[in-house]
């Protein structure tokens, strides 16, 4: 079948059809430079895509399958976990930042906005969701603890209790949905006080149940 791109003023249709094969798309250029292309990728199960540049399938920013499943392969998103334990990092009031001791191991880091020292930097202004879990060991007499999400726009107390009453090894888990401006940062901190500096933050492997991790993504 021949290529058929048509503007039909009777039906108000604007139809793009490459014929028997090929992508069906609209190209947005400025001064001859391909900025974005939108359309259906014939070589990828006819998914609808919004791609930066001049090709569907390269720099895909938005992918919608025929079943309605949407992914955004370049949307800022990360997950990192602590593989090796950080020992004696708090207990007498020292504020410990996750990743500041042993580096975190990245599972994924779409957008490249996370560093393994535990800091996420917002690439654009928006609303971001973060979740984290810290396994805390070495709990002793008098210990009470606080976990926070520290961002450039504010610090959020996520967990606070008399940790000594929970056992010698406990897990602090929480999440927050926050506003960030471009270049703002976010980290997770732990502050245990009231006792000796014996608090450990546990590391571990994914197969055994990662005990300490930090994740987040740009929501809106």
């Amino acid at each position: 079948m021949p290529k058929t791109n048509a503007i039909n003023n009777q039906s108000a249709e604007l139809t793009i059809d490459p014929g028997a094969s090929g992508d069906s798309f609209i190209q947005f250029d400025i001064n001859g430079t391909g900025e974005f292309r939108i359309g259906v990728d014939d070589t990828d199960s006819d998914k609808f895509k919004i791609s930066q540049g001049s090709a569907l399938g390269t720099n895909d920013t938005f992918i919608m399958t025929a079943s309605g499943e949407r992914t955004m392969p370049l949307q800022p998103a990360f997950l990192g976990y602590l593989a090796l334990q950080d020992s004696n990092v708090s207990g007498e009031g020292t504020v410990y930042t996750l990743g500041s001791g042993n580096a975190l191991t990245e599972v994924f880091d779409q957008g490249g906005d996370f560093v393994t020292t535990g800091t996420f930097t917002a690439p654009v202004t928006g609303r971001y969701y973060f979740s984290m879990s810290l396994q805390i060991g070495g709990v002793g007499a008098g210990h009470y603890g606080e976990m926070r999400l520290v961002t450039s726009n504010g610090t959020y107390l996520l967990y606070k209790n008399d940790i000594v009453n929970m056992g010698t090894t406990v897990e602090y888990t929480s999440s927050a949905f926050v506003d960030m401006d471009a270049s703002d940062t976010a980290t997770t901190t732990l502050d245990v006080a009231g006792g000796a500096k014996t608090i450990d933050v546990a590391g571990g492997t994914l197969g055994g149940g990662a005990p300490t991790w930090f994740s987040g993504y740009l929501v809106a």
Partner: protein
């Protein structure tokens, strides 16, 4: 007003206008098969849509209201709660998957990727956010270790580890969390609880949402 569909080589505008009424859209076909249509749905408060096939209003995959509220009616997403208590499922080190005993009750299951036995199966490769809570009862002081995990094909993500016997004997206990994880197409995820060091007496409690759902599991394809 007459229908005006026009390409202006002066301003680089491409305008689609059906006139007094009708959708304003661009149709993407391959070999005359309607694959996707994007445009403004005149019958839905002029919402901008990306719809699979050849019609706005059918198989809408992306809907943006004129006020900027975006929904994705077919995006994988689920919420389910436990409607009937599972008794004596852990306490001796057994890991119990929520839903593997009494089936869960679905509140919603967009795209039908969740099974009421507690298993979510990823339809496509992506990053998924999971969240959940588990209410427990009949904990005894000897249950000195409890672990809650999101169990996925790519790894286990712990959201709780505590001395349950020290904090949950009198009034029970609720544990939970959330995590953003990577999944490949066909990978699965469940929410599990394991209580250790004593006998198998621990119950996973069901409470209806009307009175405060005690045990529930949710998730969605995030990016």
């Amino acid at each position: 007003m007459a229908k005006i569909n026009a390409i202006s080589n002066k301003s680089a505008e491409l305008t689609v206008d059906p006139g007094a009424s009708g959708d304003s859209f661009v149709q993407f076909d391959i070999n005359t098969t309607g694959e996707f249509r994007i445009g403004v749905d005149d019958d839905a408060s002029d919402a901008f849509k990306i719809s699979q096939g050849s019609a706005l209003g059918s198989n809408d995959t992306f809907v943006m209201s004129a006020a900027g509220e975006r929904t994705m009616p077919l995006q994988p997403a689920f919420l389910a709660y436990l409607g009937t208590t599972d008794s004596n499922v852990t306490g001796d080190g057994t890991y119990f998957t929520v839903g593997s005993g009494n089936a869960m009750t679905e509140v919603f299951d967009q795209n039908s990727d969740f099974n009421t036995n507690g298993t979510f199966t990823a339809p496509v490769t992506g990053r998924y956010l999971f969240c959940g809570q588990i209410e427990l009862d009949d904990i005894v002081s000897a249950h000195t270790l409890g672990l809650g995990v999101f169990d996925s094909s790519n790894g286990l993500w712990r959201f709780d580890r505590s001395d349950f016997g020290n904090i949950g004997v009198t009034n029970g206990l609720q544990v939970g969390g959330s995590v953003l994880i990577d999944m490949d197409a066909a990978d699965i995820a469940t929410m599990d609880i394991g209580v250790f060091n004593s006998t198998k007496t621990v119950d996973v409690i069901a409470v209806a949402p009307a009175t405060g759902a005690g045990t529930w599991f949710c998730g969605y394809l995030a990016v």
